[in-house]
């Protein structure tokens, strides 16, 4: 394997974590290959990509789906890489398959890891709602959509810019960009968030909700809850998870002081990763959780928030 392209997500001028993860993922999978970062955004977004050998960059602002698709297509056509990595993100979904189709590459989605296969590679893809893992042969000249968490952003992020930065002319785009919208604080839609910090009666008191808010902020998620917390008026109805509230499917669901009544489980059991914290080791929530902590939420929440802050520096 000689050359790998890694597509860097940039939204609103900000590079996403996934870009660094892809750089790390590429290094792990093909240590000897030349690694080229590709993307469209401001020059500043190149900062931290020094882990790549080179970069091919289009200076662009705003966001246009066909622009990112065409940028990646152009880079593929120009570079003829063996492997192209994009993230399984809102940006990667615009760029990856589109560029594969345009440039005659194969496309494999939802990849969580790569493994050697007779001198070539096989991808492990998580499909069918996480119920199956497919091993797929990776032919030469393939675009992989890689799941978040497959690489380590920490390792992938190297201060500085790539040694060499080439420029890709901004391709023509049909779509036009009319501005970003930011969610209003009041109308949080918990069904659309990747991280939910969910509190139950174990939180004890309305004033402790703030602890959960802080944790959610540190995680880039929002606070949701079981029904009694809503009934008590500690959180608005829109935050309720469960049978008579919202069905949610986040990437991470933290169940803090929630017992795991059937009506609650009905709303969240499909979350990709469930972390439960409860003082009662026999609480039914542990039956559906992936990770369990037996502890007092009032001690645990601040400790976790602290821990995250330390990690993020």
């Amino acid at each position: 394997m000689k050359k790998v392209l890694a597509f860097i997500d940039v939204v609103d001028g900000q590079p996403g974590e996934i870009g660094y993860e892809l750089l790390d993922f590429a290094r792990q999978a093909a240590p000897e290959a030349e690694l080229v970062a590709v993307g469209a955004g401001p020059q500043a977004a190149l900062e931290g990509l020094a882990g790549a050998d080179r970069a091919l960059w289009t200076v662009a602002d705003g966001y246009r789906p066909d622009l990112v698709g065409e940028v990646l297509t152009a880079a593929i056509v120009a570079e003829q890489p063996d492997l192209v990595l994009v993230g399984s993100t809102a940006v990667g979904m615009d760029a990856g398959t589109y560029a594969a189709a345009k440039s005659g590459y194969a496309s494999i989605a939802y990849v969580r890891s790569l493994e050697p296969l007779d001198g070539s590679l096989a991808a492990q893809s998580v499909i069918l709602g996480g119920k199956m893992v497919a091993r797929v042969a990776v032919p030469d000249r393939t675009v992989l959509q890689v799941l978040a968490g497959a690489g380590s952003a920490e390792r992938g992020r190297v201060p500085g810019r790539p040694a060499q930065v080439g420029t890709l002319a901004e391709p023509a785009a049909k779509a036009s960009f009319e501005g970003f919208g930011r969610p209003e604080a009041q109308d949080v839609d918990i069904t659309r968030h990747d991280v939910l910090v969910s509190v139950g009666r174990g939180i004890g008191d309305a004033s402790n909700i703030e602890l959960a808010e802080e944790l959610a902020e540190a995680l880039g998620g929002v606070v949701s809850s079981s029904r009694p917390v809503v009934d008590a008026g500690w959180l608005p109805k829109a935050r309720q998870v469960g049978k008579s509230g919202n069905k949610v499917k986040p990437k991470v669901y933290l169940a803090l002081g929630i017992s795991g009544a059937p009506e609650h489980l009905e709303g969240m059991r499909d979350a990709a990763c469930i972390i439960a914290v409860n003082t009662d080791p026999a609480a039914p929530i542990f039956e559906v959780a992936h990770y369990g902590v037996v502890d007092d939420v009032l001690d645990f929440i601040p400790a976790l928030t602290e821990s995250l802050r330390v990690r993020q520096g």
Partner: protein, 709 residues
């Protein structure tokens, strides 16, 4: 004073003291006018009912009429929850009846017989004397009854008499109050003037039989004490007579136009009443209808149009409705009154039914909003409490379900409810779980369970959704299986061939889904071999027992408490570990009010040795947990307080309750949650009656604490 034998024949002239001969014909002219107005009103009312759809009545008219007569004559349905009102109403009703009959008697005697066969006139002699007593006492009771009603209205701030709306709509309803008072007031005046008439006449004549009018005589004595003389009494009598006549005639004339129409409509409605209302919902063939949210006469059946007229605004349904009690925007009374007000105008006429009114006149209300809002309709738990209490036999639930059909048709529903319906359609269960997982609970039951599809069994157990999929209710099912096995009952289940029975789907208003579920279940049942059916779930029980016969189900259907009660009666239940606990029991709506199964669960509880304390609202008056009619699937945003919590607090108010016993899988879910959220988790265990039985039979060792754990 003359004695016995030589008394003159007791009798008096009808138009006594009428000096001017033209006054007599004048009275007849007025009376005729009043009757014409009266009959015209009746004619208009009937015309409105005729503008409605046809509806077939269940057979048995003689029985129906007899029943309604009994109900009306005894004021039974009125007095059932409210002695005071029952007594007052009975006074007014009976007295009015006698006084009315009395007047009619005089009419017959004087105006009919007097003209054609004077020799037959009977309003004299012994008959006259008896008549006097009855009329006199009636007048007194009439006045007492009316005063009792007035006192209640004025001084007891009875909640049910408040016309405040609960759905936040602004409406000035003071006209209702004025009408009520007018009704009372006019009747009272008629009564009082009648009594005065009698008194004045006695003062004037002092006939030898005056003792046969004791009350009148007492009043007369009073006036005499105040100095009234015979001549002045004669004058007063003349004036009072006309006032009395005028009041009575106007009353008759306006009967079909105002609140008093209930005097006619309620009889008719009580006769037309369907004892199985809501228990068996009407199908297309029996006059089922999708009712628009803003209906015109043509959208309702004549029966429903009659029913909305029959409402006396008594507010009983308003008082007991769990939706109303919990702060939801539904009041069954207001639903009926809204319909009545709306249909009272042009929308209730034959022209509307024939479509000759302009669309604008019939369609929407002035502000474009539907008459009955979606929130109002989705608030109903179909608990049937309103139908149970309504003294005039109004059937609210079929109306609500008819309108819900419109909502379903338009897709106007809570997202959770839509999801449940989709799950029911696709998977046959509301949980959206795999059909194949339906009988998973059976693996942990610890006893073998037959497959009724391949083996004959005496009892086919129709398990139901909650009892199959809800983890708490699964333990109930497992316990039922163990107990029946222990008692040697030959039973089997349909495994993944069973579908939700469709009781809720139908009451949500998704008739097509109900039909499709019923057809699938009937297919599975027809392929199985069994003698009888029993169910764990009262909702399934209701529809299997009452609605599936229309789809061809012909066998006996029992609730498991009934089955166990039978076994107990046969002496098969050997209690080895009497349960020394104090419990209360919650009647599930679909078992109790719907199907009158009140005693089986209670007998079983007593059999286990437990002490049963009744909650204030028990049996027919049981208070809904809030889960019925599809409400368990909808978000709970329409409700302020949860009915189940109110119920748990009611139980907690009893002394020393250890267990809150239920006999419905949905109740297990509702009350475990409610006990927790109302803060009684540590105090009261929520358990199914089967757990008590299993312990008492010595098969399971579960104590209430273990059950709660």
């Amino acid at each position: 004073m003359p004695t016995g034998t030589d008394l003159p024949v007791a009798q008096r002239a009808v138009f006594e003291g009428f000096q001017h001969s033209w006054l007599v014909p004048l009275f007849y002219v007025l009376a005729t006018v009043a009757l014409i107005i009266f009959f015209y009103g009746v004619y208009r009312r009937v015309g409105r009912y005729r503008a409605g759809k046809r509806a077939t009545l269940v057979r048995g008219w003689p029985r129906r009429i007899a029943r309604s007569l009994m109900e009306v004559l005894t004021s039974r349905r009125i007095g059932r929850r409210d002695r005071y009102t029952g007594v007052a109403h009975a006074f007014i009703f009976w007295a009015f009846g006698f006084l009315f009959l009395g007047t009619t008697t005089i009419f017959l005697d004087h105006d009919v017989l007097g003209l054609v066969a004077p020799s037959l006139e009977f309003w004299k002699g012994a008959f006259f004397l008896g008549f006097s007593v009855v009329m006199d006492v009636s007048a007194a009771l009439f006045i007492i009854g009316l005063v009792m009603m007035a006192v209640r209205r004025a001084f007891f701030s009875t909640f049910r008499l408040s016309y405040r709306r609960v759905d936040g709509k602004q409406q000035d309803r003071s006209a209702y109050e004025r009408e009520d008072w007018w009704f009372l007031g006019q009747l009272l005046l008629i009564g009082v003037t009648g009594l005065l008439l009698e008194a004045f006449r006695l003062i004037h004549d002092h006939p030898w039989f005056q003792g046969y009018s004791p009350v009148g005589l007492a009043v007369a004595k009073g006036f005499e004490a105040l100095g009234m003389t015979a001549p002045s009494a004669g004058e007063a009598h003349f004036v009072t007579w006309w006032v009395h006549a005028f009041l009575a005639l106007t009353f008759i004339a306006y009967i079909p136009y105002a609140k008093s129409v209930h005097m006619l409509a309620s009889w008719a409605n009580a006769a037309a009443r369907d004892e199985k209302a809501a228990v068996v919902l009407p199908t297309q063939e029996t006059g089922a209808q999708t009712i628009p949210l803003t209906p015109i006469a043509a959208n309702l059946t004549w029966k429903q149009l009659l029913a909305v007229d029959a409402c006396t605004k008594c507010g009983r349904c308003h008082e007991v409705c769990p939706a109303r009690t919990s702060g939801a925007p539904l009041s069954p009374r207001d639903l009926v009154l809204d319909l009545r007000e709306f249909l009272g105008g042009r929308r209730g006429t034959a022209a509307a039914a024939q479509g000759t009114l302009s669309a604008a006149a019939t369609a929407l209300r002035d502000d474009g909003s539907p008459l009955i809002s979606a929130d109002v309709l989705w608030s109903c738990t179909t608990c049937r409490a309103c139908i149970e209490v309504c003294p005039v036999g109004i059937e609210h639930v079929p109306l609500i379900v008819g309108m819900r059909q419109t909502l379903v048709e338009e897709g106007e529903m809570d997202q959770n409810l839509a999801q449940a319906l989709m799950n029911l359609g696709r998977k046959g269960n509301s949980f959206g779980q795999s059909e194949r997982a339906r009988a998973k609970w059976a693996e942990q039951a610890g006893v073998p369970i037959k497959d009724a599809r391949t083996e004959h069994c005496e009892y086919l157990w129709f398990v139901g959704d909650f009892a199959s999929y809800d983890p708490r209710a699964q333990r109930v099912s497992q316990s039922v299986a163990r107990v029946l096995h222990h008692l040697g009952v030959d039973f089997g289940i349909l495994f993944e061939s069973e579908r939700n029975a469709g009781n809720d789907a139908r009451r949500i208003g998704e008739e097509g889904l109900f039909e499709s579920l019923a057809e699938k279940n009937m297919k599975a049942l027809s392929q199985a071999s069994f003698d009888r059916i029993f169910t764990t779930d009262p909702h399934s029980y209701n529809t299997l027992k009452n609605e599936y016969p229309a789809y061809g189900l012909e066998c006996e259907v029992l609730h498991y408490t009934q089955l166990l009660q039978r076994l107990a009666a046969e002496g098969k239940m050997q209690i080895v570990a009497p349960q020394d606990i104090t419990v209360t029991y919650h009647d599930p709506c679909y078992l109790g009010r719907y199907n009158r199964v009140f005693d089986a669960p209670r007998e079983l509880i007593r059999l286990t040795g437990a002490t049963l304390l009744e909650m204030p609202r028990n049996r027919e008056e049981s208070f809904c947990c809030g889960a019925g009619g599809g409400r368990i699937f909808t978000g709970d945003s329409l409700y302020g307080e949860k009915p189940a919590e109110s119920r748990i607090r009611e139980a907690a108010g009893l002394h020393g309750i250890e267990s809150f016993v239920v006999a419905c899988p949905k109740d297990m879910a509702m009350y475990t949650d409610a006990a927790k959220t109302a803060g009684y988790e540590q105090q009261i265990a929520v358990e199914d009656v089967i757990f008590l039985i299993e312990r008492a039979l010595g098969i399971g060792a579960k104590t209430p604490e273990e059950v709660n754990a």
